[in-house]
């Protein structure tokens, strides 16, 4: 089990994975990054923001930037979808307090960022095998945000690279245009 190549490359980790679904696809992310999950948050749209930003959410006195996972990964969504769940990621201040923060913790933002998804799935154990992602050329996926793939009997789960997901900015859209 532990002999997998992907595992061998990484230092042994104890973190679990949080599974979730969006548009019928399965995803997972490092549970260490997750602060909480909001149910049906009220998203206020923000004009002129990049397309992958669905809007802002009032999170106990702070402004949370809600990202649209599908747009972020480059799967354009035509019809508006309800924001059913929002995974809130930890901020710089939250991560500093962790004894073993995730490797990409330096990419965290100082203000809360969240990811809108359809449903929250299972927690996957730390020893789950994570395969490296297929190269971008083959899959057509934006691999910047993909850390790897978990393969189970009937499906593939995309493991997301949260650090990049919360940090990389789309600079193509300038507000004055």
């Amino acid at each position: 089990m532990n002999l997998s190549l992907a595992k061998a490359d990484r230092p042994t980790r104890e973190s679990q994975w949080l599974g979730f679904t969006s548009c019928g696809r399965q995803y997972a992310c490092d549970l260490l990054w997750v602060k909480e999950v909001l149910r049906c948050p009220a998203v206020t749209p923000v004009k002129l923001a990049s397309s992958y930003i669905r809007g802002v959410v009032h999170l106990r006195g702070q402004i949370l930037t809600a990202l649209d996972l599908e747009e972020r990964l480059g799967h354009p969504v035509s019809e508006p979808r309800p924001a059913s769940r929002c995974i809130v990621f930890k901020t710089t201040n939250d991560l500093v307090r962790l004894p073993h923060p995730p490797e990409d913790h330096e990419l965290a933002d100082s203000d809360p960022t969240g990811l809108l998804v359809d449903a929250i799935g299972d927690i996957l154990p730390p020893e789950t095998r994570v395969l490296p992602a297929p190269p971008e050329a083959l899959s057509g996926l934006d691999t910047r945000f993909i850390a790897g793939v978990i393969s189970s009997q009937d499906s593939l789960t995309t493991v997301l690279q949260i650090g990049n997901l919360v940090s990389m900015l789309e600079l193509k859209k300038s507000p004055s245009v």
Binding site: A42, T44, P45, V46, K47, L48, A49, S50, I53, V56, V57, H58, R60, G61, Q62, I63, L64, T65, L67, T92, N93, D109, S110, D111, P112, T113, S167, L169, L171, P175, S176
Partner: protein, 921 residues
């Protein structure tokens, strides 16, 4: 590695603090050169700095600090008296130390030869003065005893050692024991199979070695010297008791002589001159060579053992050990720790979350269905509630810092500038304990520096001119801070020449800021405001200090960016007063909440000039592709917020729109919105990094019901949206329009009751609000309207102040006229807003109705109206309050030029920080 870095950071931080104290103290020393407490404090600062630097091995810093310390010790022992050039030299030394600290590892690159040479010259200067007495003492041994009641053995013992009295101070201060350890090399040291070297290092590890002495017994001659034993004496200070020392060194009781430290203290104090001699001969005793001179000269070449011995009790061991314990014990006894701002912010956020949780809890506890334990629960919830509020308040306070930290640096600036300009200026500081948000304090630094510099450079006259005008030769600049009406008021006041409105006008005409015709119509107070115009400077000659023409306009914009407000008063020949009013914190700003296609946005109130309903009176026109608003004969560029934000264009534009006129530094423009929702004090929340790149938003805020509104940035909305031609049109019009206002001004006509018509100048009015009588709360005799976030508006009944028909009963709904800052804490009550009209100064009939608070009467829109003098009304209201309580208790700082030094009365209070005065005074 990071621990080292941390230590280093701590060292740099601490040293900076030491240097800051040092600078303040030096400044004070100048006017008070014999103050012992000051001298001690300076000495301590330098010493701690040297200690810390020595610990990290920053030799250049140690070297410079050491020389400075030596001079300070002479000053402290009253061997030298500080004069002005000396203080200047010391200040410049402290500057160099400051520079070195910026990058301690590269301190060597900072050239400080000038300072070192200067300080050494001072030391050498004393040497010539002090040597005679020292040599005299050496030649006639009994002279040493003059005035000292001590046994000769004591003196003789000490006389053997070559040391500086300062070396004793630390030990004396900490009540340590002094010993002379006597040992014979062969018999007592080498017999324990120890080398002298080991023995010395062992001694050094037990305490501080002050001096060493090696001698051969008297009977030794050249013939038998090789076999003779060498007697070593060590003058040594340690906290250890004698018997422990014996055990530790493996020596007998008879080898160790304890010296009475009280005698030693007396001796150090009363006989400093002769003991200065050592340091005088070798001013750089940091690199002091082992005291070879002590070894009798005749022995050196002959005895094989002695040369090996002499260098070994090497002084460096002692000097390196010395600083460490000193640095550790010299901390100020303040109980503070350093906290990162990030941590405070997250504490603040957590407290905010707690408040929201508490609110939910309060709601649940208030419900009747919570069961029989309701009352118990209520009391617990109340308790939690008050603790939560306290917690939030305390954390909020933790972010505040006293303005003293900012004011402090001006003592130096004023001192330096006044020297440079040959002026005599005294800086008084009041209210330096008033606290302000950290960010505000940072933002205030530059504008305030500018204002103080201006006062020194342009305000205060040179002494001759002052005397000619019948003033004292020493000018005064007063910096004060005070809490006033929920704001912080900072004032820069000078008793200098003041500003001449006529000269300002002339200058403004010359620079093309205004026309001659405009100038002739200008009032004096309007003329004073000219200095806030861009590119305006009145200095006769541009000096390197100020007067480049970028200045007051920048000050004004910077203060306004902080949500503040600048005012200026000046009387020719008497001085200038500049008042800055700031909010307590940056986080809360007044804003106008507007709606655009169903979404709410917030506009900072500070940029909102007025709100116009376009229609027949103010038509919205198209000029080429651009839209303009014709506003009182002025064409204003207009942008549509929905276009700006990319809303798709709508077919029917029937919906009523409003134009919010936004005023920026130099231009104004109109912003079309669909709805005006409210005026609120909003809490600015930062946006995440993904949204920070959208320049139109400066942040977001959470409104009453928990919904989010983005805060728009009027500045960046103007960029790129308003074409150059529109701006040009705007710029050419606006200054003219603004000035034409000074002859004919817009007034707002209203009624307090159904009686008189009252008119108030629109430029005094910020906004008009409509309120319900039920929103008004009564506190004592004062009616208040509570706004969000704990701010209140005080309602003013004009009938209480003016001879008009009193109000009997308020209607269900009435209006409040809110004036512009700084009077935005109050508002005038109006039952009806009638109209607005243009009123020129000569239209006012000043004869018929005369009363304080009234300018007179005028016929406006066919009705006789009373024209209010709002400034007078504000004064009448303020007169009720106690003006004298404005200034928090503070202290004076004195900056004096050399000529008048000593003549001046000294207003100097030392902050009570030096609790641990050295035992030796």
């Amino acid at each position: 590695m990071s621990a080292d870095q941390e230590m280093l950071d701590l060292f740099v931080q601490e040293s900076s603090e030491h240097l800051q104290t040092l600078e303040t103290d030096l400044m004070a020393l100048e006017s008070n050169p014999t103050d012992n407490a000051l001298l001690n404090s300076i000495f301590r600062s330098v010493h701690s700095l040297k200690g810390g630097a020595g610990f990290f091995g920053f030799d250049p810093i140690v070297k410079l600090a050491h020389v400075m310390e030596s001079v300070m010790s002479l000053l402290r022992d009253a061997i030298l008296k500080a004069d002005q050039p000396m203080v200047s030299l010391l200040i410049s030394t402290s500057d160099k130390l400051n520079l070195m600290l910026v990058n301690p590892e590269r301190a060597i690159e900072i050239a400080c030869e000038g300072e070192i040479a200067g300080l050494k010259a001072i030391l050498d200067g004393t040497s010539s003065g002090a040597t005679p007495s020292a040599t005299k003492g050496a030649e006639t041994p009994p002279a040493k005893n003059t005035g000292i009641k001590s046994d000769s053995v004591f003196d003789r013992e000490l006389a053997r050692f070559d040391f500086h009295p300062d070396d004793l101070l630390d030990g004396l201060k900490h009540g340590q024991n002094f010993y002379i350890v006597q040992a014979e090399l062969a018999k007592e040291i080498e017999s324990q199979s120890q080398t002298l070297e080991n023995f010395v290092s062992e001694l050094a590890s037990l305490g501080t070695l002050i001096g060493t002495e090696v001698s051969l017994p008297d009977h030794v001659t050249l013939a038998n010297c090789a076999d003779a034993d060498v007697a070593c004496r060590f003058f040594f200070v340690t906290a250890l008791e004698p018997f422990i020392l014996c055990g530790a060194l493996g020596l007998g009781d008879e080898n160790i002589h304890q010296i009475d430290s009280s005698k030693l203290g007396e001796w150090v104090k009363t006989a400093p001159a002769q003991n200065v001699a050592p340091i005088v001969h070798e001013p750089q005793d940091i690199e002091e060579k082992p005291p070879e001179a002590v070894v009798p000269q005749s022995i050196v070449p002959t005895s094989p053992t002695v040369p090996a011995i002499a260098p070994q009790p090497a002084e460096p061991t002692a000097t390196q050990i010395d600083p460490k314990p000193v640095a550790a014990t010299k901390r100020k006894p303040e109980e503070t720790i350093r906290i990162s701002v990030g941590l405070l912010d997250s504490l603040m956020n957590l407290a905010g979350e707690m408040v929201l949780g508490r609110n939910r809890l309060l709601r649940i506890a208030g419900r009747s269905d919570t069961g029989p334990d309701n009352s118990q629960m209520q009391s617990v919830v109340q308790e939690i509630s008050s603790v939560t509020s306290n917690l939030q308040d305390t954390i909020m306070r933790a972010r505040l810092q006293p303005v003293g930290s900012l004011f402090g640096k001006f003592t130096r600036i004023v001192r330096d500038l006044s020297h440079k300009l040959d002026k005599q200026i005294q800086l008084e500081i009041f209210g330096d304990d008033v606290e302000l948000d950290r960010t505000l304090l940072e933002g205030l630094s530059d504008p305030l520096t500018h204002l103080v510099r201006n006062s020194v450079d342009h305000g205060i006259e040179i002494p001759a001119n002052r005397i000619a005008k019948g003033k004292t030769s020493c000018g005064t600049i007063r910096l004060s801070a005070a809490h006033l009406a929920g704001r912080v008021q900072i004032e820069v006041l000078d008793d200098g020449g003041g500003m001449d409105p006529e000269r300002l006008k002339a200058k403004a005409i010359e620079k093309g800021v205004i026309t001659t015709e405009q100038a002739s119509r200008m009032t004096d107070s309007d003329a004073l405001q000219l200095i806030f115009a861009a590119g305006f400077s009145t200095a006769e000659a541009v000096s390197d200090i100020s007067g480049r023409g970028v200045g007051m306009d920048v000050v004004k914009t910077n203060i306004e960016k902080l949500g503040g407000h600048v005012e200026l008063e000046s009387r020719l020949g008497q001085g200038t007063r500049i008042i800055i009013r700031l909010p307590l914190t940056l986080a809360i700003v007044p804003a106008l909440i507007v709606g655009c296609r169903g979404t709410t946005y917030a506009l900072p109130q500070i940029n909102v000039d007025e709100i116009v309903h376009p229609g027949e009176e103010y038509p919205l026109k198209s000029m080429g592709g651009a839209r303009v608003l014709e506003l009182r004969g002025q064409l204003l560029p207009v942008v549509d917020l929905s276009d700006l934000l990319g809303h798709p264009p709508r077919e029917n534009t029937k919906q009523e729109n409003f134009v919010v006129v936004l005023r920026l530094d130099h231009v104004s423009y109109g912003l079309i919105v669909n709805e005006i929702i409210s005026n609120e004090e909003i809490v600015v929340k930062p946006l995440g990094r993904h949204l920070r790149s959208v320049s139109y938003y400066t942040g977001a805020t959470i409104l009453g019901q928990g919904e989010i509104a983005m805060i728009l940035d009027p500045n960046s909305m103007a960029h790129g949206r308003i074409s150059a031609s529109q701006l040009a049109l705007n710029a050419s019009k606006s200054s003219e329009a603004a000035l034409s206002d000074s002859t004919s001004e817009r007034v707002l006509i209203f009624q307090e009751t159904d009686g008189e018509f009252l008119a108030i100048h629109l430029k005094k009015v910020m906004r008009v609000e409509s309120v319900k009588a039920s929103d008004i709360e009564r506190i004592g005799s004062m009616d208040c309207l509570r706004k969000n976030h704990d701010s209140t508006l005080r309602l003013v009944q004009l009938s209480d102040l003016l001879p008009i028909k009193p109000q009997t009963q308020r209607g269900e709904e009435f209006f409040l006229i809110v004036p512009r800052p700084p009077f935005d804490g109050l508002c005038l009550v109006a039952s009806r807003i009638v109209d607005s009209a243009d009123l020129s100064d000569d239209q006012i009939d000043r004869a018929t109705f005369k009363a304080r608070g009234l300018k007179g009467s005028a016929v406006l829109s066919d009705r006789l109206s009373l024209v209010l003098d709002f400034d007078a009304i504000a004064e009448m209201l303020n007169a009720g309050g106690d003006e004298t309580s404005v200034f928090a208790q503070g202290h004076f700082m004195l900056t004096a030029n050399s000529q008048q030094q000593g003549q001046n009365q000294h207003h100097m209070t030392q902050l009570p920080t030096n609790k641990e005065q050295p035992a030796l005074t």
